[in-house]
């Protein structure tokens, strides 16, 4: 059957290239190449990356039907597959928790799985089977809506570099021991956790992202941390309880991260940091910290403002600053503690690298105004400052603008944008 006039262009390429091509196809198309010709019949069966996303089965309204078809497709595919499977992702909202998944995980645990992602649709959480903890070569793990109960004999994933748990049911002891038993862990992301008191002990950790309701977070032994993002919900009673304690959260949390380059704090994070003993003068300098983003900072709480100021003044190389306020605008225009500013921000302090400042949700309370004054006056290389007010009332906006106009600018290049969201 060989056509000498039109020679086969592609079937004789080395298998490694064929695999590179097949990996970049949606899984259904990759499997369908088996029907192209004799040579192609089993070329797909050795690919090491299997990704089952929304495209792997045409969606229709009957979720159960789609679920059944997808389960059958994956089971048959695994049965026909040969060789190691390094990457296995299931991200499909039509798929629900079912017993077949246990068999797939057992199969994967015997086939050198390295990168595993399981994200099922709405419904019961899937409980990870015990064979999952035998996947010794796992380097990347992402789970969503699962239950994780490591057996007592579990010694950790010795090769794990990236862990991402979203809405996963796991006991606090188990999660702490999981983190500390993965010595190579570089990236950790935990989200949608409830009432967790977490101590993170991970000597190689570089990227940390936490989101959820934490009662306490402690970073112990994370000297290499480069990026930190915390979205922390604190219920009122937790906050009260913490006020009682005497240790300073700021030091507890940010005391051991000298290599930090980027810090993002959301929701109650600034409040959390502000709890505890008075900061005094911070002993740590964040020499590499270039970006600070703090959202929902209440400019009516002196302690929160102090946290932000301490962060800024301890970061000599700070280049980018994003602050979002959350003050209650109905508070009076006169605020107590204005002497605070003279004390904490001597006029000779310099933010020598600060180039970009973005302030959002500014409600015009006096402390916010003083903060802007401080920034403008101490940033000799400032290029852009954007201010986005949170109120729509023209009068209030105008009042704020009038105040801002008075301020001395240390940088002749500074451009201040007052952005009104019409």
């Amino acid at each position: 059957m060989g056509d000498f006039l039109d020679p086969d262009l592609i079937s004789d390429l080395p298998q490694s290239i064929i695999e590179t091509i097949l990996i970049q196809l949606p899984i259904r198309d990759a499997v369908r190449t088996s029907i192209l010709s004799r040579k192609w019949r089993y070329k797909w069966s050795t690919i090491t990356q299997l990704v089952f996303d929304e495209k792997c089965y045409p969606t229709c309204n009957d979720r159960e039907l789609v679920h059944k078809s997808v389960v059958e497709f994956i089971t048959r595919l695994l049965f026909l597959h040969q060789g190691p499977i390094h990457k296995f992702h299931i991200v499909n909202a039509s798929l629900a928790s079912c017993p077949a998944i246990n068999q797939w995980i057992l199969f994967l645990s015997r086939n050198d799985i390295k990168d595993f992602n399981l994200e099922l649709g709405e419904g019961d959480f899937f409980r990870m089977p015990s064979c999952f903890f035998g996947c010794e070569k796992l380097t990347r793990l992402e789970l969503s809506r699962c239950e994780l109960y490591p057996p007592a004999s579990f010694k950790g994933f010795s090769c794990l570099k990236s862990l991402n748990l979203h809405q996963v049911l796991i006991s606090p002891e188990a999660i702490e021991s999981l983190i500390s038993s993965c010595p190579l862990l570089e990236s950790l992301s935990l989200s949608y956790f409830d009432c967790l008191a977490l101590t993170v002990c991970a000597p190689n950790l570089k990227y940390l992202c936490l989101e959820g309701e934490f009662t306490e977070i402690c970073l112990v032994d994370t000297p290499l941390l480069v990026e930190l993002s915390v979205a922390m919900y604190m219920t009122d009673d937790v906050a009260e309880h913490m006020e009682q304690s005497s240790t300073c959260n700021f030091v507890k949390f940010l005391g051991g991260v000298p290599n930090l380059e980027r810090l993002v704090g959301l929701i109650d994070f600034t409040k959390y940091l502000s709890i505890g003993n008075d900061l005094g003068h911070l002993a740590i300098t964040y020499n590499y910290l270039e970006t600070i983003e703090m959202y929902q900072v209440s400019f009516e709480d002196m302690k929160e403002i102090l946290v932000v100021l301490r962060l800024i003044t301890s970061s000599p190389n700070l280049k980018e600053l994003h602050i979002s306020g959350s003050s209650n605008i109905s508070a009076g225009t006169y605020a107590a503690g204005m002497e605070f500013w003279e004390k904490e921000c001597p006029s000779d302090s310099i933010l020598s690298q600060l180039k970009l400042v973005k302030l959002t949700e500014m409600s015009g309370v006096p402390h916010e105004i003083e903060f802007i004054k401080f920034l403008l006056g101490c940033s000799p290389v400032l290029e852009t400052m954007s201010i986005i007010p949170s109120m729509y009332d023209m009068e209030c906006q105008l009042k704020m603008l009038v105040e801002l106009m008075k301020f001395r600018r240390a940088s002749s290049k500074a451009e201040v944008y007052f952005i009104r969201g019409d």
Partner: protein, 344 residues
């Protein structure tokens, strides 16, 4: 001081041009900076000092025709400049990759043989985009693939191809070995049970004879012997599980050679295991002498077989194919349509 020495020792005096010989024998001069972007050429220059003159031009792999070489060099010329932004590189690539399918496939081949990974990724991505979403007929049309599956084959469900003859033969051998180990294990346990009973009665006798002073000593020795036995039984069961592991590992794997090497290593470990075990043993079973020897023999057999398979597989294949239906039917038992042959 030869020219080659100069280019290696004094980088600032490096020749700006090197000589490359393409598949058709023609030789051309290319700026060294640009050519060095290809790992293959880089290696040739550094390790072998080739390319510095027309006489010792670097021989490029067969897939690199002059046309392909010029495309590859165009790619290198753009990307080896350090200052470009990601956006620039991306838009250059989008323009660069616009060519007919045949050239694309040839370019993939050429880039792969020159080990230029970024270009291979780019071309594979483009080929994947071409294949995606098309019907089989369209794909066959584009790549000139022969439509050589029969109608039945097209409808037939794909078979699980662990009927690779290599794997099946190996499985048979391992099954044989496992059986023997199991039998020996059973025999051993039976003997141990017997001895256990005997020892007990001897100890009792001893303690009876020697009175209460010896009691503690006697019971200690019996305890340690019990421990030893337990250890042995544990080791035995781990031996069995190790032996049974290869089957699981082998079934459904195409990278047989790696697995074969791995499992023969497993079995040399078994050897040392069994030797240790027998050293600890104070009972001095007569069987001990036979076991390691037999095991070694089977190990050697397996390793031999693996080596033979890996070295002369094509020849063996010929043997199998030409040796007639009878042999075929025993090896390819469940495969009526000889699908296996096509797998290779």
């Amino acid at each position: 001081m030869s020219e080659i020495d100069m280019s290696v020792i004094k980088p600032e005096m490096m020749k700006p041009y090197i000589w490359l010989q393409t598949s058709d024998g023609s030789i051309q001069q290319v700026e060294q900076e640009i050519a060095m972007f290809c790992p293959f050429i880089c290696q040739e220059i550094i390790q072998k000092g080739a390319g510095s003159s027309k006489n010792c031009a670097i021989c490029l792999p067969e897939k690199v025709t002059p046309a392909m070489l010029s495309l590859v060099l165009d790619y290198c010329r753009f990307h080896q400049v350090p200052g470009r932004s990601n956006k620039e590189r991306k838009s250059h690539d989008e323009r660069f990759i616009r060519m007919d399918t045949k050239r694309l496939c040839d370019l993939t081949s050429a880039a792969d043989s020159l080990q230029l990974r970024p270009l291979v990724d780019l071309t594979s991505r483009t080929l994947a985009r071409i294949i995606e979403g098309k019907s089989p007929e369209e794909i066959r049309e584009i790549f000139h693939l022969p439509d050589d599956l029969t109608e039945e084959e097209k409808l037939e469900p794909l078979k699980n191809t662990t009927d690779d003859p290599r794997i099946r033969l190996l499985n048979r051998l391992y099954a044989k070995k496992r059986k023997e180990l199991k039998e020996r294990g059973r025999l051993k346990n039976a003997e141990l049970e017997g001895e256990h009973v005997d020892e007990r009665s001897v100890d009792e006798l001893l303690s009876f004879i020697n009175g209460n002073d010896e009691d503690s000593k006697g019971s200690k020795t019996s305890k340690s012997k019990k421990k030893n036995r337990r250890k042995k039984e544990q080791k035995k069961s781990s031996l069995l599980t190790e032996a049974s592991k290869p089957k699981k590992e082998l079934s459904g794997h195409s990278s047989v050679s790696d697995k074969i090497a791995g499992t023969s290593n497993n079995h040399t470990e078994d050897d040392t295991f069994s030797h240790k075990e027998f050293d600890d043993d104070d009972d001095g079973d007569v069987d001990d002498e036979i076991d390691p020897a037999l095991q070694e023999k089977i190990d050697r057999e397996v390793e031999d077989f693996a080596r033979r398979l890996n070295s002369d597989w094509p020849e063996r294949m010929q043997e199998f194919l030409s040796s007639g239906q009878e042999r075929k039917s025993t090896l390819f038992a469940s495969n009526g349509n000889g699908l296996l042959r096509r797998n290779i």
